[in-house]
């Protein structure tokens, strides 16, 4: 995607995910969970994953935050459902790299829909909003299954 196209951060995709977040709400069961907090904005998200073998069979979130953080959480959960833990970790790295790269560097095409979020690199103070859900996901997956299991 051309960089010029991502200059506008508040694109329809982001506004849509903000308004109607996907995978929103606490599930009945889960195997992994974590809570992410950005004290600067007061954004707080709780993330719930169900991992079967090494596949993320379900991933949902709950909480409140700005449009960027909420859209990022919504798009991330849509993207990760059905992926393996390794694939999730890989996407985490690609995504965080994309949102923190210099303005004129190309955006990794493998990000698919998530490319729209790369626009935050123009707004350094908002990068944390875009990555909050991702860090929360990373920390959820890092916990051992037994330690975090609750329902």
């Amino acid at each position: 995607m051309d960089i010029a196209d991502i200059r506008e951060l508040y694109q329809d995709v982001i506004l849509d995910h903000n308004k109607s977040p996907r995978n929103f709400g606490k599930p009945h069961t889960h195997t992994h969970t974590s809570c992410g907090h950005n004290p600067l904005c007061g954004d707080t998200f709780e993330l719930f994953c169900t991992v079967d073998g090494d596949v993320i069979t379900d991933i949902r979130f709950e909480g409140s935050g700005c449009a960027i953080s909420k859209a990022s959480a919504s798009m991330m959960t849509s993207e990760l459902k059905g992926k393996t833990i390794d694939e999730a970790r890989h996407l985490f790295a690609t995504f965080t790299n994309a949102v923190t790269s210099p303005l004129d560097s190309p955006v990794d095409e493998s990000l698919g829909n998530l490319v729209v979020l790369a626009g935050v690199r123009e707004y350094p103070v908002r990068v944390k909003c875009a990555t909050l859900a991702w860090h929360t996901m990373q920390s959820a997956l890092n916990q051992s299954q037994t330690a975090s299991t609750e329902s």
Partner: protein, 415 residues
């Protein structure tokens, strides 16, 4: 005078005219002219202030209180004359009561440090308001931890004013310190500091007023307020960052131990014993922020060209105009206390303040989005953050229109 240029006396006030004195106000942000509505965070500096600093370094630069040479004497004279300008501005009775600090935060930390086991001991009570800036909370928490003192918080009512009835009920013989904000930086509330001082003194407490948000907007007379201490930051008063003032009643400052040790704050030093310098130098260890003091005095000189009343009237009309336009546009304002100052905290339902802040920025409009270093206030009003527009004397009605227009387009974007 701190710098010789064209300052006038009894200059008539016109926001349009004085904008020309602030070079930064003519810069664009992106493609738009700058609309700066973040004055509660910091204010811009007029040419008179910028030139005073330049002139100091070009013609007088030297250390103060230390040399017999010409420059050092000139620098000392300028630094001390800056102190006198501050004394006059605050209506303090003596220059000895004016301590230069780094800002409000340092003034409050100085007090909390020096009060340790002198003014405040185990079991004593420290009374704060529920609308304090973190800088008027954390130093007292640290003092409470050091001494075993207890912190108590005066509640805030729904309109953003202080619950004075509860305040009176909270006063006890154990109340040793009351520290309250004069004008709340997140709600705009103007607190009844004269009344608080009187009640505090009757209870035997020392009363501190945080004047960070009041100095640039209302006339300050510390003797009329009657407070024991008054602190503020230069940078919210059109002066540079890194300089501030602690005013303290002489007899109280005399009793307090120094805050930091070093040069300038001593009379004699031997390895056995140090004799502290007289006021205010006892509290000014080390080489001070000389350019800052000079810049602060220049800012006060600049401000004193005008009648403070006319500045207050202008800011009040901005407040009234913005409040009515925002309310017409369905914006929720947090903090509507009667007689409030020109600070408007607001939320747009369903749109996070950080999105609002980023989008306003694209139209060149600078506001603050966040908790404004007053997390307890955010909790009190059940919001994670607010947007805050805060006006200064150089703001204009068309700038209010620009804010409201831009908010309108943000609302349609999120509709």
């Amino acid at each position: 005078m701190m710098y010789n240029d064209t300052l006038q006396t009894a200059r008539s006030f016109s926001a349009e005219e004085i904008r020309k004195d602030f070079p930064i106000l003519s810069r664009p942000v992106g493609k738009n002219p700058l609309v700066y509505l973040d004055n509660a965070a910091t204010t811009h500096k007029p040419t008179h202030v910028i030139n005073s600093i330049r002139s100091f370094y070009e013609s007088t630069n030297s250390n103060v209180h230390r040399g017999v040479h010409t420059l050092s004497q000139l620098a000392t004279e300028q630094y001390e004359s800056a102190r006198n300008i501050v004394r006059n501005f605050l209506h303090a009775s003596s220059q000895q009561e004016i301590v230069f600090t780094r800002g409000t935060t340092e003034g409050l930390n100085l007090l909390a440090q020096s009060f340790t086991n002198t003014v405040v001991g185990n079991g004593d009570e420290i009374l704060l308001s529920g609308m304090e800036h973190h800088s008027n909370i954390v130093p007292w928490q640290m003092l409470a931890q050091r001494t075993g003192a207890i912190m108590k918080v005066i509640p805030v009512l729904d309109d953003g004013s202080l619950d004075m009835q509860t305040f009176y009920a909270m006063l006890t013989p154990k109340t040793k310190v009351i520290s309250v904000v004069h004008i709340s930086n997140s709600l705009g509330t103007v607190n009844p500091v004269n009344e608080i001082v009187k009640a505090g003194h009757n209870a035997g407490a020392v009363v501190i007023v945080d004047g960070a948000q009041s100095v640039a907007h209302t006339k300050i007379d510390v003797q009329e307020i009657g407070c024991d201490f008054f602190v503020f930051s230069g940078h919210k008063l059109y002066a540079p960052t890194g300089i501030g003032v602690l005013y303290g009643k002489r007899e109280l400052l005399e009793k307090l131990p120094p805050y930091q040790g070093g040069g300038d704050m001593i009379l004699t030093v031997s390895f056995e014993k140090t004799e502290y310098n007289e006021l205010p130098y006892k509290f000014e260890a080390g080489t001070p922020n000389i350019e800052g003091a000079i810049g602060l005095a220049a800012a006060i000189e600049y401000l004193q060209q005008f009648d403070m009343e006319s500045i207050a009237r202008h800011e009040e009309s901005l407040l009234r105009y913005a409040t009515s336009l925002l309310e017409q546009n369905g914006v929720r304002i947090i903090g509507i206390a009667p007689g409030k100052s020109s600070i408007i905290s607001f939320v747009l339902d369903g749109i996070h303040p950080h999105d609002v802040g980023s989008l306003l920025d694209r139209d060149g409009i600078a506001i603050r989005a966040g908790h404004h270093c007053t997390q307890p206030v955010m909790k009190r009003f059940s919001v994670p953050a607010t947007n805050r527009a805060s006006f200064a004397m150089y703001n204009t009605m068309p700038e209010v229109d620009a804010l409201v227009d831009s908010l309108g387009s943000i609302k349609s974007l999120f509709a």
